[in-house]
């Protein structure tokens, strides 16, 4: 490693949400779907390839072959995002005509969090604000100003934030504790997920290029295992 590994600091609620999300009735080796599902890996890799694909188009129409076909071409960034997510989903399910199915790959309960994170990351990077979409060429140009690493960091923060929020909502905490501050859910993303992202990427090879998805998955798995251990030490 060429940088100092960051020690993440999480709130107890975030730790418990991660433990519940990874299945606290399972042993650690079994609770790795959150890290090793196909939707997460394909999304991470695709997000990291965006700046390069856009820059290589050199002003021509940006294509995302083989993920998207010529018939998927659109001038609407919203529709583009939808078609891209559909393409990832078809690949995960072994139904994408351009990719051979991989026998051990299948949908998981984390796919929704991954797909939402792709859209959140792309729209934020593209300058979409308040449901106002700039022209698609402008969206791509703006995305290309980000480094692959920045996009992947944003994707991972959104992914972990989405997973924690799913389980936060599932706990019905807000209905039970109506006085909870309005920023409670947002802090799961902006503070707790951000801490984990900082810890993960500080353990990756330094640089601006995309990280190796396998290395990131192993590092995230290790950190989540550490969260498990720390959470089990909390008094209940």
């Amino acid at each position: 490693l060429s940088q100092k590994a960051h020690i993440p600091q999480l709130r107890a609620v975030a730790m418990s949400l991660l433990v519940v999300a990874t299945g606290d009735n399972k042993k650690i080796p079994e609770a790795i779907d959150i890290v090793h599902n196909a939707a997460f890996r394909y999304s991470l890799e695709l997000i990291g390839s965006f700046p390069g694909i856009i820059q290589n188009s050199k002003g021509r129409t940006v294509t995302f072959r083989p993920w998207l076909s010529a018939s998927d071409s659109t001038q609407d960034f919203f529709i583009f995002c939808g078609r891209l997510l559909d393409a990832i989903d078809r690949r995960v399910r072994g139904r994408h005509e351009e990719f051979d199915p991989v026998p051990e790959e299948e949908p998981s309960s984390y796919d929704h969090a991954a797909f939402l994170a792709v859209a959140q990351t792309l729209c934020r990077a593209a300058g979409v604000r308040g449901a106002k979409f700039p022209p698609i060429g402008e969206c791509f140009s703006t995305i290309a100003e980000e480094t692959p690493r920045q996009l992947q960091e944003s994707f991972l923060k959104n992914y972990l934030g989405n997973v924690m929020q799913d389980y936060f909502d599932g706990s019905r905490a807000r209905a039970t504790l109506p006085s909870l501050p309005p920023e409670t859910e947002g802090r799961l993303r902006s503070e707790d997920a951000a801490e984990l992202v900082k810890a993960v990427f500080s353990r990756m090879q330094a640089g601006n290029g995309p990280v190796n998805s396998g290395a990131l998955q192993q590092t995230l798995q290790h950190l989540i295992a550490q969260v498990w251990l720390a959470e089990s030490a909390l008094d209940d």
């Binding site: 600091q9 709130r11 418990s16 909502d169 706990s171 039970t176 550490q226 720390a230």
Partner: protein, 59 residues
């Protein structure tokens, strides 16, 4: 495993744990997730635990 309480498959016990965490101001403090590789000895673990406790007192 308790009864399933929602579409996410959370049990009542899991939901209650999340709510307990949110309802206890003392659990608002942030807890260091110490990496085993960085705290390899029992002495270092004791030191890290002391440090966490001190941070907890300050919080």
């Amino acid at each position: 495993m308790g009864s399933t309480s929602n579409g996410r498959g959370m049990t009542d016990a899991q939901s209650e744990k999340i709510i307990r965490r949110l309802d206890d101001p003392s659990l608002e403090r942030k807890i260091r997730i110490v990496d085993d590789e960085e705290v390899p000895t029992p002495e270092a673990r004791t030191e890290a635990r002391k440090k966490r406790e001190e941070e907890g007192v300050r919080d």
